[in-house]
């Protein structure tokens, strides 16, 4: 058992639980609750960014319960699992997804990686380091919940997107996640994507509501609280379900449907106002 890691995970009286080592190109998609469309957003956002000319890789950071392979209908022989265990090189595990971006899938042997060990930490960092020179955007599709693996993956990202739906359970879990990120990682901005909204303006209002509760309950140093930035509403759209059932990418099969247009809009906003300028 690695004492140093345990110490970091436990955190001292001062200092964040997860030390922040974000890279400008790394973006994390997280949610708190499962089943809110996190992987859907990751995959389609990657396709939308790729369409805008970005070199994008999506990394399935939900090491324990990966879903990206299901969404993309891709089952490669070589996966992140083989890279972690040293059986394959990083480049061998990177495959091309239908939407014009690259993916690094976790594979089914990853259940043993659902707990953060020093080895996983090191392997993960090594892989991210290997990816950064080759891509403009590395998207981390994290697992549900606020486990240490999720927090660690998110800590590597400079931009964090939280996906939530208007349902109370989703909002509660999103709120809990945001609290953790604000408290432990001292995040200043968290970007909100509200999925399956019923009406125009729902997402912005929900974001405002979350912000109000945060302002009231999350005590931080004055003037340095977390700001939620509402980025997109993805409207409830039957095309999404159709695409998922057919195991196809919405951006490819129905790029003109309302949900796909919202994802396109999200990609544009991210590129124009969120992503750091190339150094």
């Amino acid at each position: 058992m690695n004492e140093e890691l345990l110490h970091e995970a436990d955190g001292g009286p001062a200092g964040p639980q997860v030390p922040l080592a974000p890279h400008g190109k790394v973006m994390a998609v997280t949610s708190g609750k499962g089943g809110v469309g996190k992987t859907f957003v990751s995959a389609n956002l990657a396709a939308a960014l790729a369409k805008r000319g970005q070199r994008v890789l999506v990394l399935d950071a939900d090491l324990g319960l990966a879903n990206l392979d299901v969404v993309l209908n891709l089952y490669p022989k070589i996966t992140l699992h083989d890279v972690f265990s040293g059986k394959a090189k990083l480049e061998e595990a990177i495959i091309q997804a239908p939407g014009g971006f690259s993916v690094l899938l976790a594979g089914s042997g990853m259940v043993e990686y659902s707990r953060l060990t020093p080895e996983i930490r090191t392997d993960f960092l090594r892989i991210i380091d290997g990816l950064i020179p080759r891509y403009d955007v590395v998207l981390l599709d994290t697992g549900a919940g606020i486990s240490d693996v999720v927090l660690f993956a998110v800590s590597l990202a400079s931009v964090v997107l939280v996906v939530a739906t208007p349902e109370p359970t989703s909002l509660t879990d999103a709120y809990a996640t945001i609290k953790v990120l604000a408290g432990q990682q001292k995040r200043e901005h968290i970007y909100m994507v509200i999925n399956q909204t019923a009406r125009l303006g729902d997402g912005r209002a929900i974001t405002g509501q979350l912000q109000q509760v945060l302002d009231r309950f999350v005590v931080t140093e004055p003037g340095r609280g977390v700001r939620l930035v509402h980025l997109a509403d993805i409207p409830a759209d039957p095309s999404v379900r159709q695409a998922v059932m057919r195991r196809q990418l919405l951006m490819q099969t129905m790029p003109g449907c309302p949900a796909a247009l919202a994802v396109t809009q999200l990609a544009r906003k991210l590129e124009e106002s969120v992503m750091p300028v190339e150094r």
Binding site: S147, L171, Q184, A205, T207
Partner: protein, 292 residues
Amino acid sequence: MAPIGGHSRICPGLWRKTLLLNFTDSRTDLQVTSLIAPSVVDISDLRLSDARALLEHGASAPLPDSDAHPTEFVQSVIDGLCELSSKDPLTGLANRRNFTAVLEREIDGVARSGEPALLLMLDIDHFKSINDTHGHSAGDQVLQAVAKCLARCIRPMDSVARYGGEEFAVVLPNCLVSVGEAVAERIRLTVESLTIPVGLTASVRATISVGGAYAPAWVRSTAPQWIERADRLLYRAKAQGRNCVRIDHQQAIAVSAEEKKLLFGHLALGEPAWIERAAVEPASGGASGVGP
């Protein structure tokens, strides 16, 4: 018989003759039933005299007669020994071994639920001088009085233990971050108000210093780590004048009922309030940092 994870349990097997063992194999998760002995175990063959002697002095429940049902008898011996091995003999509180197990369990709960759990480490101030001035039996009486007081101060779901020497530990599951300090302070004041009779005529007053730390929610920590953080706060309390409380507030991340009410309480009323407000002021969602 329900399987008992990782533990074996003696169950009524063959009358007076054999002991059956039911347990769950940790590798296969299968329930296994096996005979302790290939043929028979006779109760009279077991060397129970040492155990009985221990239990006659220390156990809270009396032992049944040795001519009771043998299974019942052996079970009560085992239960008594379990109890003895988990208790501090002087104060009757949980001992350190027992307490560490409680902490490990609590960490599992916290990692899963994210509920705030508080660990308090408490130490009697200037205990050595009580011993030096009034003698060691006075010291014991102080320990017993403080232990009794601590046990009275906590909720049924909480656990209190004698951690070692004059140090005690309290774990408070599901203890809101906003009230942790008040709980610890109440315990400190209650101890401070005690007048503890020692010997025949004298009495002493004792104070305690308290350090507290919340478990890192959603993170599987370890008992030693958690104890170390609480201990560090205890040292701080000692260094800052004793008879005071110092708590580490870092884990304020569970979602309270109050927060939930604000988040979506209006959903129960039909129309979400934010939709009405959004209709009135569509562009002024205060949280937005990016233009529409």
